[in-house]
Structure formats: structure tokens, C-alpha cells
């Protein structure tokens, strides 16, 4: 059971902290020029962080208690491949979902 006081402390501090993290550059740096070396690194933020976020979930899904799962891995590969080939987000999502559910059904 979570204590009410603890819960509210966490909600409020986590809210302030999360906003702080989101505001730290957009808000505080604002229009000031950032150095070239930093901009050069920031260009790769999305293509580095998001695959890093996804990779462990593909290899060791929480839903299977971390056991490698063929439907999930195949769905990830299909999504990425269709996304690369078509540059179309919706096609990629639907192909990935179809692969996941198809294989879960077949191997289920």
C-alpha cells in the first residue's frame, strides 16, 4: 500500500523535475547560439536515444519476463524494414502489428 503523503510528494517533485528537464535547454538557452560541436551531437539525439530505448525491449521483452520472443523480434524487424523501404509511418506500424499478432497467433 502506498502512503498518501509519500505519493503526493513523489507526484509533485517528479512533476517539477520532469518539467525542469524539458525546460532546461528550450527555456534557459533559448535564442542564444549553441556551439557547433554541441549542435553536431544534438543532430543525432533522436536516432540514438529512441533505438537505445527500444533495443532492450526487443531483445528482452518485459511481457515475457525478459525471454527473447520470436513474434516481438520479428515485428520489430518488419516495422523497421517497412519503415526504411516505404518511409511511411502508418505502413510500418500496421506491418509490424500484423507480424506481431500473426506470429503470436501461429506460435501461440
Amino acid at each position: 500500500m502506498i502512503e498518501t503523503g509519500t505519493l503526493w510528494t513523489i507526484i509533485i517533485l517528479l512533476g517539477i523535475g520532469s518539467f525542469g528537464l524539458r525546460f532546461v535547454f528550450t527555456g534557459l538557452v533559448g535564442n542564444r547560439a549553441m556551439p557547433d560541436w554541441l549542435l553536431r551531437h544534438l543532430r543525432y539525439t533522436a536516432v540514438a536515444i529512441l533505438p537505445a530505448l527500444v533495443a532492450p525491449q526487443v531483445m528482452w521483452p518485459t511481457a515475457t519476463d525478459g525471454v527473447f520472443d520470436i513474434p516481438r523480434a520479428a515485428a520489430a524487424v518488419v516495422t523497421l524494414t517497412v519503415g526504411l523501404a516505404t518511409k511511411n509511418v502508418l505502413w510500418a506500424v500496421f506491418s509490424g502489428a500484423a507480424t506481431l499478432y500473426g506470429l503470436l497467433f501461429l506460435l501461440g
Partner: protein, 238 residues
């Protein structure tokens, strides 16, 4: 005239982030359900989602609170999961840093994985957008996401029953992100950045407080930047 382009930028943002509707509904519902199961009432659950507005961090905090983890550790862990938001903030700054402060504060509040990835890929593709157009586009991109995050947190909290595991909703997020990132691999440097980040993320998966993600992200960014420099020195097209 400006109003027209701003409006169409806003509308385009809505259209471009609409695929995420399919993701955010199950994700928000799941949070509502799990929060209720953890003993939070509807008000607490809603305030949690509205104040923190970060799915992964909320799930982390909820999980740790149930295990009676000390408050400080709960906060550090959940914020560590959210450190990527600071990186998103930095990455968005060159594009929207010139906007008025209140708009930047609003954009900061709604900076989530989905709005970030939709926004930054558009800003990269179309460097000629004006700052007001970018802000309008960004607000458009959050329009289908953030209200649904609130509404379906509420639905989950009210329904309160477990979503069947056979729906495999855990995998909605990886699929959506992979689909979003794929069109962003425009240069060899982007590919190197992603592959490096993936390898480091897998090697660093055991690092506590989700710091493996941050290490992997930084490694990927360095690899991308170095590849870009290498191609520049060779004089080859990027």
C-alpha cells in the same frame, strides 16, 4: 497570411502525429489500470498523469512505490528515465529557442517522445519553416496525444480491470518508435549513431536507474557526430 501558414502547420502537426493515437490509448489506459491496482484513487491517478505527463517515468515510479522503495530513490530512478527529455529539449532549442518564453514553457510541458520525434523530423526535413510555424506544428503534434493521455488514463482508472496480456500492448511502443525513426536515417552518420546506440544499450542494459539508456544515447550521438566529421574531412557528400 502568417495566420494561414501557422494554421496549416498546426493541422499538419495533427496529421503527422495521428498514428500515435493507436499507441497512446492503450498506454494511457494501462497506466490508469495499474495505478488503480496499486491503490491510487481516480484523483491521484489523474493528477499523476497531468503533472508528470511521462509514461515511462510514471510506470517506473509506480512500480518502485509499490515495492516501498525510499522516496529519494523513486525520484532519482523516475527522473533518470526522463533524462532523455533534457536531450530532446537541447535538440529542439535550435528550432524553437527564439519563440516567446511562455510558448517555450508550453512546448517544454508537452515534450514527450512522440511530439519530439514528430517535431524534430519535420524541422530537419524543412529547414525553411519559421519559428511560429514550428511552434504551431509542435502544438499540432501534441493535440492528438496529450488530451488522449489524460482521457484514457481516466478510462483506465475507472475501468480498473486488467487489460488482457494476450493483447501484447507492451509492444505498441517499440513498434511505434521504430516506425517513426526509420524515415530519419538519411545519412550514413544517422545509421552509425543508431547502431552504436543499440549495441551500447544492449551491453549497458544492467546499469541501474535506467542510466544505460543515457550512456547509449550519448555514445550514439558521439558516433554520429564523429562520422559526420569524418565524411566532411574526406570531402564526400554527407
Amino acid at each position: 497570411m502568417t495566420t494561414t501558414t501557422r494554421k496549416s502547420a498546426y493541422r499538419q502537426g495533427i496529421i503527422d502525429s495521428s498514428p500515435f493515437i493507436l499507441v497512446i490509448i492503450p498506454f494511457a489506459t494501462l497506466f490508469g489500470v495499474l495505478a488503480t491496482e496499486a491503490g491510487l484513487n481516480v484523483l491521484e491517478t489523474m493528477v499523476f498523469s497531468i503533472v508528470v505527463i511521462a509514461g515511462a517515468a510514471q510506470f517506473t515510479a509506480l512500480q518502485l512505490m509499490q515495492e516501498n522503495t525510499p522516496t529519494v530513490i523513486v525520484l532519482i530512478s523516475a527522473l533518470a528515465v526522463n533524462v532523455r527529455m533534457a536531450m530532446y529539449s537541447a535538440s529542439l532549442t535550435p528550432y524553437i529557442g527564439a519563440a516567446p518564453l511562455w510558448q517555450r514553457a508550453l512546448c517544454a510541458y508537452v515534450t514527450v517522445d512522440q511530439s519530439y520525434v514528430v517535431g524534430v523530423s519535420k524541422f530537419e526535413r524543412e529547414p525553411d519553416m519559421t519559428v511560429p510555424e514550428r511552434v504551431a506544428y509542435f502544438m499540432g503534434a501534441v493535440t492528438p496525444i496529450v488530451p488522449l493521455w489524460y482521457v484514457f488514463t481516466l478510462v483506465g482508472a475507472l475501468v480498473g480491470t486488467r487489460v488482457p496480456e494476450s493483447w501484447a500492448l507492451d509492444f505498441a511502443i517499440p513498434i511505434a518508435f521504430l516506425a517513426m525513426i526509420a524515415p530519419m536515417f538519411r545519412t550514413a552518420a544517422h545509421v552509425v549513431a543508431a547502431l552504436t546506440a543499440v549495441v551500447v544499450a544492449l551491453l549497458a542494459a544492467g546499469v541501474p536507474y535506467s542510466l544505460g539508456l543515457i550512456i547509449a544515447g550519448i555514445a550514439g550521438m558521439i558516433a554520429g557526430a564523429q562520422t559526420e566529421l569524418w565524411f566532411e574531412r574526406k570531402g564526400a557528400p554527407k
